[in-house]
């Protein structure tokens, strides 16, 4: 575990500016050494993860926060892509959405989502949620090291 020694990178895939800002604010309040990278649709998410185009040289994220309702390529497609890609599949993905639809939940776990979380309406709870996600996935959970691609 080297969690607290280095800055953690989180990729947020979210198209709603209000939600992006809210997540940024919540992370700021949590005080953990985190860099939050934001992309606004599924296609950009894949480009980021493959470090293509405008995303050349970006770090491999330690955690992905993924919304489901996204333009161009939806969250489930991104999820399926990542979890079927040997270089990316070990990155934990937390689905962060407002959809309480049972089919969505089931489908996401089938596609190997690591966790499915509903966005709470209450900001206090949202902060608590973001804090829980960070502390669990970045501090408590032991994860495999990224495959050495250098």
């Amino acid at each position: 575990m080297e969690g607290s020694d280095r800055k953690m990178d989180i990729l947020l895939v979210e198209d709603n500016p209000g939600d992006i800002r809210l997540t940024q604010e919540a992370m700021r309040e949590s005080g953990l050494p985190i860099t939050l990278h934001v992309v606004k649709d599924g296609v950009q998410a894949i480009e980021f993860l493959e470090q293509e185009g405008a995303h050349e040289g970006v770090p491999r994220p330690d955690l992905i926060l993924l919304d489901l309702n996204l333009p161009r390529m939806n969250g489930k497609e991104v999820l399926a892509y990542v979890k079927s890609n040997p270089e990316l599949e070990t990155i934990p993905i937390v689905i962060l959405t407002t959809s309480s639809n049972d089919d969505d939940i089931r489908k996401c776990y089938t596609l190997q989502a690591n966790c499915y979380v509903l966005k709470p309406i209450d900001f206090e709870r949202f902060i608590g949620l973001v804090r829980s996600i960070e502390s669990f996935w970045l501090e408590l959970a032991a994860l495999p090291q990224a495959a050495d691609t250098t």
């Binding site: 709603n16 959405t97 407002t98 959809s99 639809n101 049972d102 309406i121 209450d122 900001f123």
Partner: protein, 453 residues
Amino acid sequence: MHGEHDAMNNGDDRVRSIIEGIQRVASGDFSSPITVTGEEDDLDAIATGINMLTEEIAHRDKESNEKQEAILNILEDVNEAKEELEKATVALTESEEKYRDLVENINDVFYATDENGTITYISPIVSHIMDYHPEDIIGRPFMEFIHEDDLERIMEAFTDIVAGNLHPSEYRVMKKDGGYQWVRTSSRPIKDENGKLLGLRGVLSDIQEKKEREERLEKALTDLEKSNKELEQFAYVASHDLQEPLRMVSSYLQLLNRRYGENLDDTAKEFIDFAVDGSTRMSGLIQDLLKFSRVGTKGKPFEPTEMKEVVDTALKNLEIAIQDHEATVSVDEMPVASVDAGQMVQLFQNLIGNAMKFNRPGMAPEVKVGLGGSDTEWEFTIADNGIGIPEDQLERVFVIFQRLHPREEYDGTGIGLAVCKRIVERHGGRIWVESAEGEGSTFHFTIPKRRDE
């Protein structure tokens, strides 16, 4: 001389006696033969001869009588037989009339084909269905009249019927004007003693109206499914897209309070609280609306279910509420019923939850889950000792978003009982409540029994 004279007189008497004897016989009296004197003369010979003839005649007369009697007996028998025959004829006529009535009033068409499927007979009533007269049809292959979309299916069905698997077929036949008409046929193969197929015989009936009804029903069902899908789509939109802006409103108001609270006075903070409270409640309403719509769209098929387990699950889900209210819940013996188990859990949970929630201050809730019913349905009851419901509100409690109490006293969106009603109605049952204000309420709902229960 005297003797001669005597003989003379004697002779006259004997002749008279003979004449009288003949007269008796002539009158049909054969019982007294003519006296024979024993003088062995001609008169005696005549008397003896007549007596013999008389005997013969008597014998023949007797025989003749017997024969006549026999003939009379036969005649009597014949008469009786004739009467019976008449009666039978009347009965036959009656039954023939009935039969004719039946055949004339029946709209079914009888038909026969040969082994190649060529029509060899079809009843005249066919003209009512296909506009064709029998002579237009007889001699033509049956298959010629079947709608091409149905042809393959019917060929298969006919093969099946020839093989001995008898079942009716429904398909369209072509009418004289080229239009089509739905019919149903029930056919039976006719075979000779060696099992060789000779042809088919069957009954054809008009099912146009039935089919049209079915098609209307099917269309209504398709429409319903479509509208259900749209509703589900709407529900999804409601759960996702309507939630987003609400979350923005409430979250940023809270953030505002958090970051700039120091610069706001108490009134401003109070306003923010009301706005946050409002959006939180609206979010709750949206979630409830979603639950309500999902009763219909997300229901599972009905399966035989241990209702005891259903109630136990509901009680387990309510464990904390039961502890908080210090409630006691008793449960009668529960049956196996054909239900959607998940929805039943929700139903019991809502009703038992309500029973505890609307308690009288300072009085621990007592909830009784009971069972009654009839041959055709189960009746479940959930009785409490709570505040009860005013009589004029008994119907209103099942209407969506209707609340009977101020939020400060009893919280809730007013969805619970509306969902209950929808669940019960989806199961083909009824739900109602009986209540005495200040004494408690008893909710009743029924679930139809299936034939195998």
